[in-house]
């Protein structure tokens, strides 16, 4: 099969690899029809996530058709069209029993801190991802969801991660009516966090980034206020000023370990790797939120230490909530929102690229070229879709 193949920092290619096989009775093999490049894939692409091995196939946002099932699979049948949440989870452990699917303890031998994620290094379980023609999906009766007939494939693929992660980010902020919510990061997750903040009754939504085209997009798509942090003297001071010197009620970190905006963080976190990435967005969250406010973190950080202003968080009496999204829990509600027209996820897709051109797709997304917001990769087996849509690159 053709699959994306990681060769080292900033180097990926499409290459033929052996087809995945059933390794466990609960496995299914899914023939991928669409996969996305996620912002957090860029942390892998840039070599920041430990135990990312050469030859790995990324991709934790994908949908497809069931090609083969193991002997222990009863709920899925060959031919079913499914969306696959990015978490690999068992459904029965202590954590899954509490709907903490992102924290499942039965699927990742290589880390007790990190849950399992498709195509996200061996630290996240050592499963190949969906930027390929075929992918192994463990616990197929538990994770995948059959795509309802009235849900568009482009909406479905965004329901595997970006939409639920943005929604959970807003939910973890515990937003009350009229709250001022500041979202750091205008990538896909930040965009959906901003949209979700309105659903939860926010009074103001402000999105912060430094890329003008992303800010213009989120302003239009999520009807929010925007701030380009390069144009302000100090981010926390600016947010205070915007909020009658009170601070935001809720701050959301939708950036993670590759934040720009602070030279020292960039040096120590991204270049020297002396901490788990640059925590600039997290600093800004803690320092921009009002006393007693909530900070919600969905931006990905590495598992090593970070020099975060925990003292400020203590003194301000903040509530910090963070997690990988438990995607499966949000799907019924999010499908309701899509059906009601409150969410239109597919509108953020700007690029559709044949899987063969994965190197260029990563470079465009990583470099924020061509006004890229979200990229969908189309594998060769999906010829009909490719003829219609795979036009961006050629």
């Amino acid at each position: 099969m053709l699959a994306m193949n990681y060769r080292g920092p900033y180097r990926v290619r499409a290459e033929h690899k052996p087809d995945p096989v059933i390794e466990h009775p609960g496995d299914a093999i899914i023939r991928v029809t669409r996969s996305c490049i996620c912002g957090s894939d860029l942390h892998l692409y840039h070599g920041l996530v430990p135990d990312t091995r050469v030859g790995h196939t990324f991709g934790h946002e994908f949908i497809g058709v069931v090609e083969e099932v193991g002997s222990g699979v009863h709920k899925l049948q060959v031919g079913d069209k499914v969306l696959v949440p990015f978490n690999v989870f068992c459904g029965s452990c202590f954590f899954c029993d509490r709907e903490l699917y992102g924290n499942c303890d039965n699927m990742n031998a290589q880390s007790s801190a990190v849950g399992s994620i498709y195509g996200y290094s061996h630290t996240a379980g050592g499963y190949d991802g969906g930027q390929a023609e075929l992918v192994r999906v463990p616990m197929a009766d538990v994770g995948p969801m059959i795509i309802p007939h009235d849900i568009h494939d482009d909406d479905a693929v965004l329901l595997t991660d970006a939409v639920p992660t943005g929604y959970q980010a807003a939910e973890m902020g515990d937003i009350e009516e009229g709250d001022t919510v500041v979202v750091f990061g205008a990538g896909p997750v930040g965009i959906f966090a901003a949209k979700s903040a309105w659903l939860m009754g926010a009074g103001r939504v402000i999105v912060v980034d430094h890329v003008d085209y992303r800010l213009e997009f989120v302003k239009r798509y999520a009807q929010c206020e925007i701030v380009n942090f390069k144009e302000v003297r100090d981010m926390a001071e600016h947010i205070k000023k915007m909020t009658d010197w009170m601070g935001a009620d809720v701050c959301i970190d939708a950036v993670g370990c590759e934040a720009s905006g602070n030279a020292m963080q960039t040096l120590t976190g991204r270049y020297l790797m002396a901490q788990a990435g640059s925590a600039t967005a997290l600093h800004w969250c803690i320092n921009s939120v009002r006393k007693g406010g909530n900070v919600s973190i969905v931006g990905v950080y590495g598992p090593t230490f970070n020099a975060v202003p925990i003292g400020n968080a203590l003194n301000k009496g903040l509530t910090l909530r963070m997690n990988q999204a438990s995607v499966r829990r949000h799907l019924p509600r999010l499908i309701e929102h899509i059906r009601a027209g409150r969410l239109n996820p597919k509108e953020i897709i700007t690029h559709r690229v044949p899987l063969e051109d994965v190197s260029d797709a990563y470079h465009i997304f990583s470099g924020k070229l061509d006004e890229c917001i979200k990229t969908v990769l189309i594998p060769p087996n999906t010829n009909q879709v490719r003829q219609v849509t795979a036009s961006t690159m050629h």
Binding site: L100, A109, Q110, S326, D360, G367
Partner: protein, 221 residues
């Protein structure tokens, strides 16, 4: 700042001029009417209706919950296991088993717990070693990796030609400077001594003009 200017205009003392102005205890909050134009506003206003994350909720509502733990997957390859959990998990990933020097480093890393910084730093080191192994593996298979292609040069050329030209110029300048410095360092001492004599030993007189070695002449100049 607007408020600072206002304070100063009112004739406040110098220190007051440093403050941005009095803050309000309760910032203005828009009314529901003001927010009705927002698509879907307030659909999840009732917090009891939200899926409720990350609060624990049992039993799970949205999955088919299997009874008991999953069956144990067979170990057919080497899987490194965190020291912070007992034994191997019921299900695990089976791609890219540890191999070579990077594999040795990874095995060493897994002797330390995830709580130990050495665990992560060794894994990051192993990742870098693995990149070199990947290139060697490509070459061993007779495949010369198209490094620039893998880095997306086609997209860079199409969407950021000015950036590409700038990067190319920087690389050329760095390589050129490095070459020049190496060239200087690489010259044998004997040559340098000879040049020194040619330039400064009065017995040899001034260096010949238009001699047989123009390169040497240029370097002496």
């Amino acid at each position: 700042m607007e408020s600072r200017e206002i304070v100063q205009q009112k004739g406040g003392h110098a220190h007051t001029g440093q403050h941005p102005g009095p803050g309000r205890a309760a910032p203005h909050r828009p009314t529901r009417d003001e927010l009705q134009h927002i698509q879907g506003w307030g659909a999840d206003l009732d917090r009891k209706d939200r899926p409720g994350v990350p609060m624990e909720r049992t039993p799970p509502r949205f999955i088919h919950q299997p009874e008991g733990d999953p069956l144990q997957q067979q170990e057919k390859i080497e899987v490194l296991v965190s020291s912070e959990r007992p034994g191997i998990t019921q299900v695990f990933g089976t791609v890219q088993p540890p191999a070579g020097l990077s594999g040795m480093l990874r095995r060493l890393a897994f002797r330390a717990s995830e709580n130990d910084l050495r665990h992560w730093l060794l894994l990051l080191l192993a990742d870098r070693v693995n990149v070199v192994e990947g290139i060697a593996d490509d070459l061993a298979r007779g495949h010369i990796p198209n490094v620039l292609g893998e880095m997306g040069i086609k997209a860079e050329l199409k969407h950021n030609p000015a950036g590409l030209a700038k990067k190319a110029a920087i690389v050329a300048a760095v390589v050129g400077t490095a070459y020049y410095l190496m060239e200087r360092r690489g010259r044998p001492d004997r040559d340098r001594h000879a040049e020194h004599r040619l330039s400064f030993d009065p017995r040899h007189g001034p260096p010949e003009s238009g001699g047989a070695d123009p390169g040497r002449r240029n370097r002496c100049a």
